[in-house]
């Protein structure tokens, strides 16, 4: 028995560099346990740490759903929900309660077991991704404790692995519904998520080549020292990789312009057409948790994680900064959703296979060459200067092209009617 | 081209298949044609360069009164080339309302003829897909006929109310 729990004990003490996970922090700051529980204290600390995440993470969708509705409302010249609570802030709570009380329908001739199982799988694996995301860190004594449930040394690999299980849940939901719309939606989703995992993986790879670790906290540690040490600016290729990653991430979480699996004007509601009540709400929770997770990963990998903009200033262990950066990316996702139309299936696949994947491969090649020129240890600042110069020039050329396109547009779209 | 000239051209070509023209109508006056050769006449109206009726604006069935023993089909034609229009009318008997389709001349006639079949029971021979369009497939009777009596019960539902 003791050996068995010993595994957990070891887990909570896995260290990379000098960081310890949240459970270690809890052991440090919570009062000592009564004697009969002492041998399980590692285990209890782990459970508490998990409990905190399991308790907090489902609240994220609650906030994000309201945020989505408010953001969309302001984009669309409306006020959004205003009735429940001041400024409508309790709206999602009320919706949740309503969904809880709704009848739980299972379509006849559907596969009942899979139908019930699918939402749980999706929710579990979207929440599982949060295990390895560092939300912040705090120094106590000479130890650094990271707000992370498990500081896995294969952190980002683990996240990629669990987030790709979600697609199984989606296919299960589509199949078990015994509805053609759901089936079409889920198969679209499968094709889309499997395809877009490739650019996601490749652009993460180009980051990992630079930092040379898979550990999430290890990646954040290397971005210590302010804005200029963020990985996005480290090489010009990681700058491109960030955008490839973000575009693919939008597709991964099935949001406009890549929301084909749940395209309401085509497939009614896609894979969750037949779901009602709390099971439907679980899909929602998973969707928004996913969205937060991919943005958190983007922040961790490219935008310095919980590290502040200026070196040394990490309020509350960098947690507010981290949440702010993540929410900003979430906002960008919402902004895109309420602005852009939806792509067609073939165009979606074209974008992935003809543009994003070649660009990602080019990125990996570029990072390799960059490292060859500026040395394998690109942590030092000598590569930053050239990198910034290249990025600025590239952005300048890009913006010039964009604005040329815009002004050209206005000139040509009003053709003189041929009389 | 005015309707008298069109009538003249048709008479020249088809002879007695075109009824004499009644010019004293208050409003639009139709050219009455032989129902059995509607498709030939329409093909001529479509093909002839002087006529070039390339658009079928409307195709409607017509039942004038319960006592009337005939149904009519009215084709309103329009030419985008010459900007003239003409109504063509073919009269068929209620017992045996058959006449050839014009679907292969104007594709729009497909749905219009289905509608006339649905509401008047006029059968267009040679139509590729003649079935009810507005009413349910198992509806009985042709509602726009003047002597139509709606059923009391349709699929367990009371019809008149």
């Amino acid at each position: 028995m003791r050996q068995f729990f010993g595994i957990f004990g070891n887990l909570s003490e896995v260290t990379v560099g000098s960081s310890k996970p949240l459970a270690g922090l809890l052991l440090e700051i919570l009062p000592p346990l009564p004697a009969f529980l002492e041998e399980y204290e590692q285990l209890l600390a782990m459970i508490t740490a998990c409990g905190i995440f399991v308790g907090v993470v489902p609240l994220i969708p609650l906030v994000l759903v309201l945020a989505e509705r408010k953001v969309s409302a302001f984009i669309q010249d409306r006020t959004g929900p205003m009735r429940v609570g001041p400024w409508g802030i309790l709206q999602t709570l009320a919706d949740g309660v309503k969904l809880l009380f709704k009848e739980d329908l299972i379509p006849p001739y559907g596969d009942r077991v899979l139908f019930r199982l699918a939402p749980y799988i999706i929710v579990c694996f979207s929440l599982a991704a949060f295990v390895a995301i560092p939300f912040g860190a705090i120094d106590l004594g000479d130890e650094r404790y990271v707000f992370i449930v498990s500081n896995l040394n294969i952190g980002i690999f683990y996240i990629l692995a669990v987030s790709s299980v979600i697609v199984i849940g989606i296919i299960m939901a589509g199949w078990a519904s015994n509805s053609k719309w759901s089936l079409l939606g889920s198969l679209r989703s499968a094709a889309q998520m499997v395809s877009y995992e490739i650019p996601v993986g490749l652009s993460i790879l180009s980051v990992i080549m630079v930092v040379q670790t898979l550990n999430m906290q290890g990646i954040v540690d290397q971005q210590d020292g302010g804005l200029h040490s963020w990985l996005i600016f480290r090489t010009p290729f990681s700058f491109i990789a960030f955008f490839v990653f973000f575009i693919s991430a939008i597709a991964e979480v099935n949001r406009t312009p890549f929301d084909l699996p749940e395209a309401e004007s085509e497939l009614v509601a896609g894979f969750h057409t037949e779901y009602s009540g709390m099971r439907f709400a679980l899909f929602f929770i998973a969707e928004y948790a996913n969205m937060f997770a991919v943005c958190a990963i983007a922040v961790t990998l490219f935008l310095g994680g919980w590290q502040g903009v200026l070196p040394g200033i990490d309020i509350l262990g960098g947690l507010p900064g981290f949440v702010f950066k993540t929410l900003f990316l979430v906002f960008v996702m919402m902004w895109i959703r309420w602005t852009l139309p939806r792509l067609r299936v073939d165009q979606l696949m074209n974008l992935c296979w003809k543009y994003l994947i070649p660009v990602s491969f080019f990125n990996i090649l570029g990072v390799g060459i960059w490292m060859l020129i500026f040395g394998a240890d690109t942590m030092d600042m000598k590569s930053l200067g050239p990198s910034l110069v290249v990025i600025v020039i590239a952005v300048f050329i890009l913006l010039k092209q964009v604005f040329k396109g815009v002004s050209g547009t206005k000139r040509e779209t009003t053709p003189v009617p041929s009389s | 081209m005015i309707i008298e000239e069109i009538q003249g051209l048709l008479c020249e070509k088809f002879g007695e298949k075109i009824s004499p023209f009644e010019a004293d109508a208050v409003h639009d006056s139709c050219i009455l044609v032989d129902p059995a050769s509607v498709d030939v006449i329409c093909r001529y109206l479509y093909d002839d360069e002087r006529l070039a009726f390339d658009m079928l604006m409307c195709l409607s069935g017509l039942d004038l009164s319960p006592e009337d023993e005939n149904l009519s089909v009215v084709y309103h034609l329009f030419s985008d080339v010459h900007l003239h229009k003409v109504p063509i009318k073919a009269v068929v008997s209620k017992e045996n309302p058959h006449l050839p389709t014009v679907e292969n001349i104007w594709k729009t006639a497909n749905w219009h003829e289905r509608e006339a079949y649905d509401l008047f029971g006029i059968v267009f021979e040679g139509h590729s897909d003649l079935r009810r369009i507005l009413l349910p497939d198992d509806w009985e009777g042709y509602p726009l006929r003047k002597n139509y009596k709606e059923p009391d019960i349709y699929r367990g539902m009371k019809v008149p109310y």
Partner: protein, 389 residues
């Protein structure tokens, strides 16, 4: 007699094809259209439209109603542009009544009011089409922008006739009531507000790369095919045919106004070809501007004072028959009326522009994808109330 059995698609056993019933309850079939799709994966091998779910026996009703009583029924045909439906019907009846010497003709003031509300309703209708098309393609925001502006038009209508959707405003011989004081100022305010909005919407949706990718070269309806299918209105103009009844067979007082007839164009920059979804959509955007132009001209002219209703004893059109068409926002709306000189028509047939446009869907949609079907339905801009009558 032909067989009564319904024709449904049959799928070969062990084939890779799937039959999908799209509708009658579906978010983007614009009402209760049912499409039976034979799918090979995402590709549509065949799409058979089934209509009639909104059939309300308009034509049968009309045979049992006097002419003025029919007008509210025309409201319910194309409820998006009810003014133009009223107008189309009244035009046909007035044309028959012209033979009656007791009928004094539509007064000038009524004609001006008709053009005003008709063009406003055209804008409202095209706004709805623009908004729902955006939604069909997946952009939700234009829909609410369109509804915001359409709301202003509905408020104007509410002021002038008390109704917001089914107006019953245009009557045989005139209009039901005169405009309230300051109404023209409200119209002017709206027009001043609305005119720049069209350009805003063009930058928001029309020029959007994804929107262009979704609509350009999709379901090309060329001019010959359009004419053969009897397709009229913006769908025909999108195919490059400059044909508008307001211009080419002017009814009412349209000959006094200066406006263009927007048509589709080949635009190599974005790859648009004549008659594709993008061009059909663009024609509507341009038409809104032309409607604004017409309304501006009315506002700048002095609307003559005088009666708003013609003098007549009763609506008893002399016996005979007539087919008359007018330019509704969705195309040429025709009314075939047979009168026997009594107060009720013997036969009334409404030729709906959407009916003919939808009949082309089967041919247009072959070999496209499911998402394209939605794009086509949106671009031909159908209203099921008018198709099923």
């Amino acid at each position: 007699m032909a067989t009564e059995e319904s024709k449904f698609i049959e799928v070969q056993p062990f084939s890779d094809e799937m039959v999908l019933s799209m509708g009658p309850q579906h978010p983007s079939t614009h009402g209760v259209l049912k499409l039976e799709l034979r799918l090979d994966g995402e590709i549509v091998r065949e799409a058979i439209p089934h209509i009639g779910y909104l059939h309300r026996c308009f034509e049968k009703h009309a045979e049992n109603l006097s002419y003025p009583q029919i007008i509210p029924f025309t409201d319910r045909m194309d409820y998006i542009s009810a003014m133009n439906q009223n107008w189309g019907f009244c035009l046909a009846v007035e044309k028959m009544m012209a033979a009656d010497e007791k009928f004094s003709g539509v007064p000038e003031r009524a004609e001006y009011l008709r053009v005003l509300v008709g063009e406003l309703n055209r804008i409202a209708s095209h706004l709805l089409s623009f908004g729902t098309y955006g939604m069909d393609i997946g952009a939700f925001t234009p829909f609410l922008y369109a509804f915001r502006d359409r709301e202003e038009i509905l408020l104007l209508f509410e002021e002038i006739c008390g109704a917001r959707l089914t107006y019953n405003y245009i009557r045989i011989g005139g209009v039901s009531r005169d405009m309230p004081p300051n109404w023209l100022d409200h119209v002017k305010n709206f027009i001043d507000y609305f005119e720049p909005k069209v350009d805003e919407y063009n930058t928001l949706l029309t020029e959007n790369k994804i929107f262009i990718a979704r609509t350009v070269k999709v379901a090309v309806l060329d001019e010959d095919m359009a004419i053969n299918y009897g397709i009229t209105g913006p769908n025909l103009r999108g195919a490059g045919k400059k044909w508008d009844l307001r211009k080419d067979e002017p009814y009412s007082i349209y000959d006094r106004f200066d406006f263009d007839v927007p048509i589709g164009h080949d635009i190599p920059r974005i790859g648009a070809v004549l008659g594709d979804c993008w061009n059909r959509y663009k024609v509507r955007m341009d038409e809104m501007k032309e409607s604004v132009r017409i309304i501006r001209q009315i506002l700048n002219q002095k609307i003559p004072e005088g009666p708003i209703m013609a003098q007549y004893k009763a609506v008893r059109p002399p016996a005979g028959e007539i087919f008359d068409r007018s330019e509704a926002p969705r195309g040429e709306l025709g009314f075939y009326i047979v009168s026997d000189g009594s107060v009720k028509p013997v036969r009334l047939k409404a030729k709906s522009p959407c009916f003919t446009a939808l009949s082309a869907l089967q041919e247009l949609s072959k070999g496209l994808m499911v998402a394209d079907i939605i794009a086509i339905i949106g671009s031909i801009d159908i209203v099921m109330g008018e198709i099923d009558r």
